[in-house]
């Protein structure tokens, strides 16, 4: 079952284990420059609000209602990262416009291991973008669906049908969990220091395109694919532009994304996940061939000016936090 709790999606599997609960939160963040550099992980500024889609039957298209799920507002060119939190191991597939963010393949409701098409939580605490190379991702950036083919969906499938973000979660089988516990296998815990938060008539749907590069691995699953439950819980997150959000929900337009100069001026930190050389899933060849959003729309002169990163905060899975040079 999936529950919306205070702007977080909670995937609960009480039939598997009382603690089999995964929380997924979508974080507002700085859009990193698309300048060829690879940036560290930007901080989460705030969480995006979400609402049950069926509460707005009169203001959303019927096909959105048929998909179910939740609504989330984003500004055009705004960036997000996805925060995962669970002490019980979960395998999680994430797609944008039904294009898998790890492999670039089309959507399916099953896990796959050749290549691995999912992330494992809590080993993987965050996902910032599309897996375009072995040790980096291209940031998730919101772009209008069906206007210039900038979304990953349009570039991969040639159509602008779905947009949004799709998630399906599978808990570890209870017997595997109990066995691992008995063997006192130490799971990596979520870091304590988790990238702190430092008028239209037709709703405009948004999809995700590729922004600048961010250093991030997708960790290989060290369990067998048969260790995971085969029935998961899933959710469709509809992305709407901020004006459409106001029209649909009658709530105020969300505050605009943080500009680069504000991020720098306030000294908001950058992060890096210390992983002791843990191996990463290979980058997707399909995704690596996609164009970034700046290839589709005129950008302001300052949009992709490099940012000078003085230092990063290294977040250790065992919660040891230290300053590092970048």
């Amino acid at each position: 079952m999936v529950i919306l709790e205070r702007d977080s999606l909670c995937f609960r599997f009480p039939e598997i284990h009382p603690s089999a609960t995964l929380t997924v939160t979508f974080m507002r963040t700085l859009r990193v420059p698309d300048d060829g550099s690879t940036y560290p992980l930007p901080a989460g500024i705030d969480t995006f609000p979400m609402r049950h889609i069926e509460d707005y039957k009169d203001t959303v298209p019927v096909d959105w209602l048929n998909r179910g799920g939740v609504l989330l507002p984003m500004y055009q060119s705004e960036a997000l990262w996805i925060n995962f939190s669970s002490s019980y191991p979960m395998a999680l597939k994430i797609a944008a416009g039904k294009v898998n963010a790890i492999t670039g393949k089309g959507w399916s409701n099953e896990l796959g291991d050749a290549p691995q098409n999912y992330v494992v939580v809590p080993t993987q605490p965050w996902l910032d973008g599309f897996k375009t190379s072995d040790d980096s991702v291209n940031q998730f950036v919101a772009v209008p669906l069906g206007h210039g083919a900038a979304t990953a969906e349009e570039q991969v499938t040639g159509s602008a049908e779905f947009g949004g973000i799709q998630i399906i979660a599978f808990p570890l089988k209870r017997e595997i969990y109990d066995r691992e516990k008995a063997e006192e296998l130490e799971f990596l815990e979520m870091p304590m220091f988790s990238r702190r938060e430092c008028s239209e008539s037709v709703p405009a749907s948004m999809g995700l395109g590729l922004g600048g590069k961010i250093k991030q691995k997708i960790y290989e699953d060290d369990r067998a694919i048969s260790d995971w439950e085969t029935t998961g819980s899933r959710c469709f997150v509809h992305l709407v532009n901020s004006q459409a959000w106001q029209f649909i929900t009658s709530e105020p337009v969300p505050h605009p994304p943080i500009p680069k100069y504000e991020y720098v001026r306030h000294g908001i930190p950058w992060f890096e996940l210390y992983d002791d050389g843990a191996s990463s899933v290979q980058g997707s060849e399909t995704l690596s061939k996609l164009k970034t959003t700046s290839a589709f729309a005129a950008t302001k002169p300052n949009d992709n000016m490099p940012i000078d990163i003085a230092s990063t905060i290294v977040v250790n899975p065992n919660s040891i936090v230290k300053d590092g040079d970048y």
């Binding site: 079952m1 999936v2 529950i3 919306l4 999606l9 609960r12 009480p14 009382p18 049950h52 889609i53 069926e54 209602l65 048929n66 998909r67 179910g68 799920g69 939740v70 039904k98 779905f162 799709q166 304590m192 220091f193 988790s194 819980s233 899933r234 959710c235 469709f236 250790n316 065992n318 919660s319 040891i320 936090v321």
Partner: protein, 117 residues
């Protein structure tokens, strides 16, 4: 049974083991209260602080605000508003659910819909 003060101190100290910014002084500064006041809260020397302060503490220490409020014998304003908007219905509902197991309560929680996609 663990008191509110013990609970707050335990979690702050846990965070402090890996991040020195969770010292009593720095947490108090970020929450907007005096370190001596936070110290007294942690020692249960004073009555629990206001709802606003408890929520700030919960946010700062990555704790559930409702849990902290409950330990302080309070109910958050939004929950009060929900109950007061339909007092008979929600009072009856809560009394009815008083002894129901967690798993059964979760079954009546509103789920995010899943459709055809």
């Amino acid at each position: 049974m663990e008191t509110l003060g013990q609970y707050i101190r335990k979690h702050r100290e846990l965070l402090r083991q890996s991040d020195r910014s969770y010292s009593l002084r720095q947490v108090a500064e970020r929450v907007g209260i005096k370190p001596t006041y936070l110290s007294k809260i942690e020692r249960d020397d004073l009555a629990p602080p206001s709802e606003e302060t408890l929520k700030k503490l919960a946010h700062e220490l990555e704790l559930d605000a409702d849990v902290l409020l409950a330990m302080a014998g309070k109910v958050s304003a939004d929950l009060r508003q929900i109950i007061c908007s339909r007092p008979e219905l929600f009072s009856a509902l809560l009394r009815e659910l008083k002894s129901v197991p967690d798993q059964a309560v979760l079954k009546i929680v509103r789920e995010v819909t899943d459709g055809d996609w």
